[in-house]
Amino acid sequence: MEDDKLEEEEGAIEYVSYGGEHHLPLIMNLVDQELSEPYSIFTYRYFVYLWPNLSFLAFHKGKCIGTVVCKMGEHRNTFRGYIAMLVVLKPYRGKGIATELVTRSIKVMMESGCEEVTLEAEVTNNGALALYGRLGFVRAKRLFRYYLNGVDAFRLKLLFPRPELSSGRFIIENEDMPQESERHQ
């Protein structure tokens, strides 16, 4: 009984895809509040204008309480999705909202032909690391003092199943890899 009541009080969470200019200040507010890195308005515009279908917002009683911002594109011969920002307000955490947001983005990436999805997370951000771990992300690299605040990051990667993997054969790639620009991929 008690639980039902609470549920009712809380109300349902509504998820919407990025719908235009009116959503931009909502996203910016959330991210500015919760993430350590400072982003200019151009960074937000870069993402939501080019990939509006990969950005989602979560509302509770009309208030925006969570958002995910992503991109996708060619990266060294792979078509790769990238999760740039994921935020859920503190009182709303632990209810699976972030998982739902990010799952929606990943599904669109998968349907759009992405081979993998990557992102960076602070090594101290246990909540995010656990969330992505459950979704099948692997810690591919550690990036030394990646953030402006001096904290290391993990590069997380989710590889989608693909046919050529099952053959178990690989060819040595003789490639002179260019220096990665890890911070701005």
Binding site: S40, V123, A140, L148, L159, E175
Partner: protein
């Protein structure tokens, strides 16, 4: 640009004085143009061009946003304005006693700034937040302040040059960024003698204070006291002296360590010892300093401060230089506390001491062991840069041993080989470069190191294939062992084995670094240990092959004497290095099978995400090794084939952990002179012992008792897990 005849009449007088109009250009008022442009594009709007990428978006800064705009004026427009406003007076205080205390505060804060810089912040926002340092010549009338600042500057300069030369600074390019800073000064090479003179004067004064009172008066007349209160003179002299001397000897340490081929190491060690004892004195001086400062703070509060006294130092402003930083948003800088700064320098000196006491092992294997042992102490950038400068100088090991000679020695070839023509072979030259590059990579921080090793492993593999091809072309099919094989064939055979050994060594290091960097999650442990197991087997195989071929001659003679092959085989002992690897192989295999049985029998939670399977996880973890075919023929299929059938009912028949334990115990006598190896053996013993018990318990009770929970800890070894069995 539109030419406006009227406009040219009334240009702003300021503009005209700065940049005059030229033949093609003229000053014009564009206010109205801007005004109309402003109505076209609103604040925050963006014209999206083809080339506008994420980098461009991220590089855009919002002016007047303190989080992003590093040019925002905080207190002063310029250094001159700060000085005019009295931000860095000389003397710091008109009261001589207070002046000395203020100088000590400046010294302490500078040390904290220096440690913060070494820890990865910009020089501009740390050490060069000191206004005195930014205008050093201003302080020349104040010998104490002048000499201290000058030696600090000279040391920073020496450290910058060491780190930039080593190019070990990885992503920390911020470290060597000195643009616009007065880092180099004429005559800075004399900074030590200047400091020495000040040291002499204060030492004399200190001796005078300590002298019996009868002679005191006479001596005091000769020298000017440091400050005006005779009761405090001794304390202040002592506090200042240890700070000066630390600087002097630290400067010596850095210069001695730069001498080629480690020739300055013995002397450097003496200076390191002095530095450490002066740091002790500095720590002790806190009692005197705090008893004379009215700070009004609690002890624990003072511990977070950047000075011994707990006071704010005079003459620092980190915002003055923020415009000199790279075109990135200003980094939030918290200067480390004075206590932490001293701890940092103690650690740095200990790390440098390890480098200075290294006997420059001519054997490549010894170099690798030294570097990995050294890295276990998690040395910071400055220490790692010095290690790298020692290892690779002028394209030679230690600036002394030509790479080909090092390879020959490593590959257990006779002395004559190192002069062989083969060293001019194109691929052998490439191999030499690869060896040096790999050594440099091993000196970098673990995160960077793992990424670079993952890439260079491809180069090792490719070079192996190229060498094999080249040798076959030059010397034909390598015949099976013959007594009178020619030296060229011998060299090529040995080198090929050696290259493979190094390749597997790097692969293993790549895998093990994943533990240190926390890249593996418990659901991946099984495949990680399996990979460690297959790579270790290859490594042991190659190492054994190398050592065996070395002993060929010796053993042949032995066989002739005994004339009994069977006996020889029975007597044959595996070399200790190979047996140590065998221990690790058993541990890795044991852990793989235990984890696989847990997985197969539902004792461990299988984490399956909604988007992919274990196979994708496998490929992601080992992609770089798989691409380089390390080891050959090993794939996800091999992993699942060897682990899918693991069951507790059959596991108890194998004695992985017991076998590891047995070998580890026997091996101790072989490594009696090697404390690092002995420590490793002890750790292996502990893991093996605990896991043997745990495995036994699970095998007996596991399937019957559903409340039994198994998890893994790294309590005994940094990368071999210990199983813990508990009833939930």
């Amino acid at each position: 640009m539109t030419q406006d005849d009227d406009g040219s009449k009334a240009p702003s007088p300021i503009n005209q004085s700065i940049i005059p109009s030229g033949d093609q250009t003229v000053w014009t008022d564009v206010s109205s143009l801007l005004q109309s442009a402003c109505t076209d594009l609103w604040d925050g709007e963006l014209i999206h061009g083809e080339n506008f990428n994420l980098f461009a978006a991220m590089s855009a800064l919002e002016i007047m946003d303190p989080k992003m705009d590093s040019g925002i004026v905080c207190r002063y427009y310029s250094l001159d304005e700060a000085i005019e406003n009295g931000a860095a007076p000389i003397p710091v205080s008109s009261d001589k006693t207070d002046d000395v205390q203020c100088i000590i505060d400046i010294m302490d804060h500078l040390l904290a700034c220096e440690a913060t810089w070494h820890k990865g912040h910009s020089l501009a926002q740390t050490v060069f937040s000191c206004i005195y340092l930014l205008r050093l010549e201003r302080t020349s009338s104040h010998a104490l302040l002048y000499s201290y600042c000058r030696v600090t500057r000279a040391t920073c300069n020496a450290v910058v040059s060491a780190v930039s030369e080593a190019r070990t600074h990885e992503e920390e390019d911020i470290f060597t960024m000195t643009y616009g800073l007065p880092l180099k000064g004429d005559g800075d090479e004399k900074c030590v003698s200047m400091l020495h003179a000040v040291d002499e004067t204060i030492s004399r004064q200190l001796r005078a204070c300590k002298a019996p009172s009868s002679s005191k008066k006479r001596v005091l007349e000769d020298i000017e006291p440091l400050q005006t209160n005779p009761d405090l003179e001794e304390g202040y002299c002592t506090a200042v002296l240890c700070r000066l001397r630390f600087r002097k000897h630290f400067h010596h340490v850095i210069t001695c360590m730069r001498r080629p081929q480690g020739r300055g190491f013995e002397l450097a060690r003496k200076h390191i010892a002095t530095c450490l004892s002066e740091l002790e004195c500095i720590l002790k001086s806190v009692v005197f300093i705090r008893s004379n400062c009215v700070c009004g703070s609690y002890e624990d509060e003072i511990d977070d401060r950047t000075t011994a006294s707990g006071r704010q130092p005079i003459g620092f402003d980190p915002t003055l230089n923020s415009r000199l930083c790279a075109p990135t948003p200003p980094r939030a800088i918290k200067i480390v506390s004075w206590k932490k700064a001293i701890e940092y320098f103690q650690k740095l000196l200990h790390d440098l001491d390890i480098i200075c006491s290294y006997p420059l092992d001519p054997l490549f294997e010894g170099v690798l062991n030294f570097v990995t042992e050294f890295q276990k102490f998690k040395p910071d950038l400055v220490a790692r840069a010095h290690l790298q400068l020692l290892l690779v100088q002028d394209g030679k090991l230690y600036g002394r041993d030509p790479v080909f000679a090092v390879i020959c020695k490593g590959a257990a070839l006779p002395e004559v080989a190192k002069n062989h023509d083969i060293q001019n072979n194109e691929f052998i030259l490439q191999l030499g470069q690869l060896v040096l590059t790999s050594l440099k990579i091993l000196c970098t921080n673990s995160a960077w190191q793992r990424r670079k090793l993952g890439k260079i492993i491809q180069d090792w593999r490719i070079l192996y294939l190229q060498l094999e091809l080249a040798f076959r072309k030059d010397y034909g099919e390598v015949p099976s062992t013959s007594n009178d094989e020619n030296i060229s064939i011998k060299i090529s055979k040995h080198i090929l084995v050696w290259v493979e050994e190094q390749t597997y060594w790097i692969a293993l290091r790549f895998l093990l670094l994943g533990f240190e960097l926390e890249l593996y999650s418990p659901n991946d442990y099984c495949m990680v240990y399996w990979y460690i197991y297959v790579v270790s087997i290859k490594l042991a195989e190659k190492t054994h092959l190398k050592l065996m071929s070395n002993n060929d001659n010796a053993r042949r003679k032995g066989k002739k004497k005994k004339d009994n092959l069977k006996d020889a085989a029975k007597d044959y002992q595996f070399p200790p290095v190979v047996l140590l690897l065998q221990c690790q192989i058993y541990l890795a295999e044991g852990l793989t099978m235990m984890l696989a049985a847990l997985r197969n029998q539902d004792k461990a939670i299988k984490v399956l995400g909604p988007f992919n399977t274990e196979q994708e996880r496998f490929f992601q973890h080992f992609e770089l090794l798989q691409k380089a075919c390390i080891p050959d023929q090993m794939s996800y299929l091999s992993f699942s084939e060897s682990t899918n059938h693991a069951r507790f009912s059959t596991l108890h028949m194998f004695n992985y952990f017991k076998d590891a334990l047995k070998i580890a115990k026997e091996l101790k006598s072989s490594f009696s002179g090697n404390p690092d190896r002995l420590a490793e053996l002890r750790r292996i013993e502990q893991v093996a012992e605990h896991n043997a018990i745990a495995l036994n318990l699970i095998c007996r009770l596991g399937t019957l008792d559903p409340s039994l929970k198994v998890y893994f800890e790294y309590s005994h070894h940094s990368h071999f897990a210990t199983a813990v069995v508990k009833r939930s």
